[in-house]
Symmetry: C2
Subunit: 205 residues, 2 copies
């Protein structure tokens, strides 16, 4: 995101560490309780900065929300890229390991919070084009990593399914978000087991 | 839900029409902006009743939320049951028609709101066991209708996939929620097309 389009204009020159502290605090709060339930006051209190600092960096909560989504996704992206660039593991194994590791992390956290992109898609995307567009862009970036992994599996004849890797990756990603949603509602493993079973025993074969 | 466990105890004998008006107003508001962004004041204002009436019927917003989820699902259940009890259409056609009709309604509404069970799973299920349990029960009821439809398709050899109808139905429902989520983020048809393509050309065959 071009920071010129989102940074505040009032007050002294913003401190970049304060901005990072605010984004970190806001990301954690949005992830924990959602967007509407997180006030600017909550966020500055967690970050330990005065409220005015918030508006030195962000003109509005909505602009902050869009930058928090960038911050959240960028913290995931490095490990995501590392996961899918391993030369040691075959593509399908990479994909299985990726979803399994995400699941274990989620389960160990009490099946809480899930994916912030998914959460904010359902909570706030209807009401903010700015936020919706950021979510859509990051979902596409994530999707591209899955696409290239599935494409490699097809090229290496690990899977015979000849539907386009793009289509398969989009379906896998959306089904993963659906499995997380059901796990949030039921607090049990079955949606993950169903996901792994159908994705890896029926679709990516 | 046993109303004894959730009704308020203060004030005069509650008027059942007022209760329905409140549930209708609350369901619409939750569906439009989410749980946290809907205040009790918003809800009584939409219903056109004094705030005290709310607490004659419901001890808390959380209890109201649980009853609103029941109200929402019960308004869907009749048409859902009708859809899957048609004797004229083959089971797989029933299933396709069902998702297609849900999609058209959603698209005509500007890809807004989606499924309230899904929305509240991601927004509030982490914070309210009462609400989470209501969502889980209704997802299971919905799932059972899909299971019995898929079971019939297997019995009639419309589909050869021999994985259990329960598993397939759970996967289909979760993937549907995931497709709705992606459509909320992207405001386009592709997640629906991907869903129909993979569910009906790869899985239920």
């Amino acid at each position: 995101m071009n920071s010129n389009s989102t940074s505040g204009r009032r007050g002294p020159k913003p401190n970049s560490q304060t901005k990072i502290d605010l984004l970190k605090a806001g990301t954690a709060k949005f992830h924990e309780v959602g967007y509407a339930a997180s006030s600017v006051k909550d966020i500055v209190d967690i970050a330990g900065v005065p409220k005015g600092s918030f508006y030195n960096h962000f003109n509005s909560k909505e602009i902050f929300g869009a930058e928090a989504i960038d911050y959240y996704f960028n913290t995931q992206l490095e490990s995501l890229t590392t996961f899918f660039s391993s030369m040691e593991k075959a593509p399908i194994e990479q994909l299985k390991n990726y979803f399994y590791s995400r699941f274990i992390q989620f389960k160990n956290n009490g099946y809480l919070q899930g994916c912030m992109l998914g959460n904010l898609s359902l909570e706030i995307a209807d009401h903010s084009k700015l936020i919706r567009d950021r979510i859509a862009i990051h979902l596409q970036t994530w999707n591209q990593l899955l696409t290239s992994c599935i494409k490699k599996a097809q090229e290496q004849q690990e899977i015979c399914n000849i539907q386009s890797a793009d289509l398969l990756a989009r379906f896998v990603l959306n089904s993963w978000e659906g499995a997380l949603l059901r796990m949030r509602a039921e607090k049990k493993d079955q949606p993950f087991e169903d996901f792994m079973n159908v994705i890896f025993e029926v679709i990516l074969i």
